[in-house]
């Protein structure tokens, strides 16, 4: 339980998209705000379908939103 191996850049991407709020993103991908909170905290790995919905909203490929295992931020 707890932190999953699937990490994400959702928090950073939200702010890069006109400081989108968690609620706005939740409405766009069709989940509750609490699920966005859990994803950003790394407490939940999304289903493949939900991951693709994030990709649609941010207009980015999956691997630029999600990563598996340890991830080193590029400078």
């Amino acid at each position: 339980m707890g932190k999953t191996l699937v990490g994400n850049h959702i928090r950073k991407l939200r702010f890069n998209h006109n400081e989108m709020t968690q609620q706005q993103l939740a409405d766009k991908v069709g989940v509750t705000r609490q699920t966005i909170v859990a994803l950003e905290k790394g407490n939940y790995s999304p289903s493949l379908e939900l991951a693709f919905r994030f990709a649609q909203v941010f207009e980015l490929p999956l691997e630029e939103i999600f990563y598996y295992g340890k991830h080193i931020e590029s400078p």
Partner: protein, 148 residues
Amino acid sequence: MTYQEKKSIVSIVAAILITGLYSAFKYAHYPAEELDAEALYHYWGAFVLVLLLVSILAHIVISIVFNIVFRVTTREKEPGFADELDKLIELKSNRNGFFVFILGFLLAMVSLVLNKPISNMFIILITAGFLSDITGSATKLYHYRKGV
């Protein structure tokens, strides 16, 4: 604390209060004289049925009151639907709740096999139902706080 976490805590407190108060009330009205088998089955049957009814009604009322208080205090609307995280947590809480109840059911059967008084079987079943309710809510609380 999120809506779901608060709701799980309210569910646990409600379950403890409802079962505790109702059991205390029925205990005070337990017949002092020795009951024959028919009266005993009637007493425990009525106990379980009324407890179920009271429990359902009280949970509905508590849920309505909780939603009103939540809206007033946080000025936030409660989530109007269950998404994939909610459904996953619901499944896990149901699994744990059912597991506890099945365990209690088996213990109740064991008490019959060991020729214990029939009251024991009913008390074990009622306790198992109560613990299963608590386990379900506690599982929800745990997963909403710690993740899935």
